[in-house]
């Protein structure tokens, strides 16, 4: 875990600042409902969220592919509208979809991307990127002859071809095998070590847990939480005590309010969340209080709440 500690630059000014960002698509659908977010220079930031949450929309606005309806974004203090050229030069984007010109060769398409971003041709740099992504053997193959995972590598190579200072990875591990995933994370760590800021989106909590310095959760166009991973991990230390009731409970008696119990939808289970790290778990007094309130239980079990649960709760609690 120590290898994932935030870099020393964590307190440096934000490299990306998003303020009151809203997006309403032409269809009338409001995909982003006022996002405020600061990305710190040199960190790995994971954007988590269910399908349709607005992750790709947010990334697309920062990268200049989608227009914001209102709000501002600055990249390295360049406004993405007023200072678009300076802002975009620093960014590399690996899109979610496998969109790539399949008639080009691997080397040509990477070289194209480098030129597009205003960099002088550099066969040496392209070779390095292709080697890092195990694509060197395929350098003269047409993209259409490659497998899906290989195509994703090519997309990453294109994004890295112009030596970006900020890298967006939109669901980089969708449809990718274990080996490539490992290669990819090695590469991401190496990039961060060289000072590149990385923003990735994912559906997999484990992935965010493994890679990120900080995690942001998006749901229905809103940023529900932004926190250091360590902080979220601390929440992972919580446990839950689940009591199965012999009879259905309509509501939790007021006398038990202090325990912040959760009643399952069908009224047959009570859940008590406690902190294993604290000295007193409160279990004994809870059981006493339950007996006093005349609530018995058939069975009980405990479980650890995972980041997954935290995520699911955050997402579910939204109106």
């Amino acid at each position: 875990m120590s290898s994932n500690a935030p870099p020393a630059a964590a307190t440096a000014p934000a490299v990306i600042s998003v303020r009151s960002l809203r997006k309403t698509y032409a269809s009338g659908f409001e995909a982003l409902k006022g996002i405020d977010l600061d990305i710190r220079r040199g960190e790995i930031f994971a954007l988590l969220g269910p399908n349709g949450a607005g992750k790709t929309t947010l990334i697309s606005i920062i990268c200049g592919i989608v227009r914001a309806t209102s709000g501002t974004v600055t990249v390295d203090s360049h406004d993405i509208v007023g200072g678009w050229r300076a802002a975009r030069s620093q960014i590399g984007l690996v899109p979610q979809e496998l969109t790539i010109d399949t008639f080009d060769t691997v080397r040509a398409t990477a070289g194209f991307s480098r030129g597009l971003f205003g960099k002088r041709a550099s066969p040496a740099h392209i070779e390095k990127v292709l080697r890092d992504l195990s694509l060197w053997d395929k350098r003269d193959s047409k993209v259409m002859t490659l497998s899906g995972g290989m195509k994703r590598r090519v997309l990453i190579a294109k994004a890295l071809a112009h030596e970006p200072r900020i890298l967006f990875l939109d669901e980089p591990t969708a449809g990718v095998d274990v080996e490539l995933r490992r290669d990819m994370w090695d590469l991401v760590r190496a990039l961060r070590a060289s000072g590149v800021t990385i923003i990735l989106t994912t559906h997999y909590i484990a992935e965010a847990e493994e890679m990120a310095d900080r995690i942001g959760v998006v749901n229905r166009g809103e940023l529900v939480v932004v926190e250091d991973k360590a902080e979220l991990m601390r929440k992972l230390g919580r446990k839950q005590l689940i009591l199965q009731l012999p009879a259905r409970l309509e509501h939790i008696p007021d006398a038990l309010a202090a325990y912040r119990l959760e009643l399952s939808a069908d009224g047959s289970e009570l859940t008590y969340t406690y902190d294993t790290q604290s000295e007193r778990t409160g279990i004994t007094s809870l059981l006493d209080a339950l007996a006093e309130a005349g609530i018995g239980f058939r069975d009980l079990r405990t479980q650890e709440s995972s980041l997954e649960d935290i995520f699911v709760n955050l997402v579910r609690d939204q109106p």
């Binding site: 989608v66 050229r85 194209f112 991307s113 030129g115 002088r120």
Partner: protein, 253 residues
Amino acid sequence: MNLHAVRAIYVSEMARTFRTLLQSIASPVISTSLYFVVFGGAIGSRMPEIDGVAYGAFIVPGLVMLLLLTESISNASFGIYFPKFVGTIYELLSAPVSALEIVLGFVGAAATKSIILGLIVLLTANLFVPLHIAHPLVMVLFLVLTSVTFSLFGFIIGIWADGFEKLMVVPMLIVMPLTFLGGSFYSIQVLPPFWQTVTLFNPVVYLVNGFRWSFFGIADVHVGHSLAMTFAFLGICLAIVTWIFKTGYRLKA
């Protein structure tokens, strides 16, 4: 100015042309030759001279114009439609390239291809009818202006089109008729006065006649009008392209 980007787009578009070199060059050369065999040879031998120019030679500028128009439009429209269609447009939109740089790359490549094809067809025509070019510089000027203008027009169509049908419909339903009715194969003086006036609203008339003047020194409209009309159309296309990138029309959600 991001010249590296202009170059990258231009080179990649030209590479697309060379990948399909045979279709790119063979089909226009063959179809032009067929026009010569039919119009120049079979029919032309029975046609009188027009203003002292043999019919076979008279139609050469019109044929080259027909080729420039259709090739410029189809190349440029496909060039920008394809990235939109497969989604690779994301890279253009996220790159530090301005509208001008994108247009220079795409339209430059499409126009280059048209000019090369135009010259090849002229050489082919020379095999059928001996050609003498009276005003070579004006000829080159019209060749380049027409290629650039209609590549821009094709670029606009490529952005506007949201399906392959739309990509085809403008060249087929508008450009072909305008070219055929624009005096490519006849002098508009053979038309009744009323239709002559109507024809003067057809922009292709000015292109064909300007181009023809550069060959033979004869034309139905003054070469100055021809140049003015070509520049006017170029200006209109430039204005539309500027508007497209300002508003993100059909490019950005």
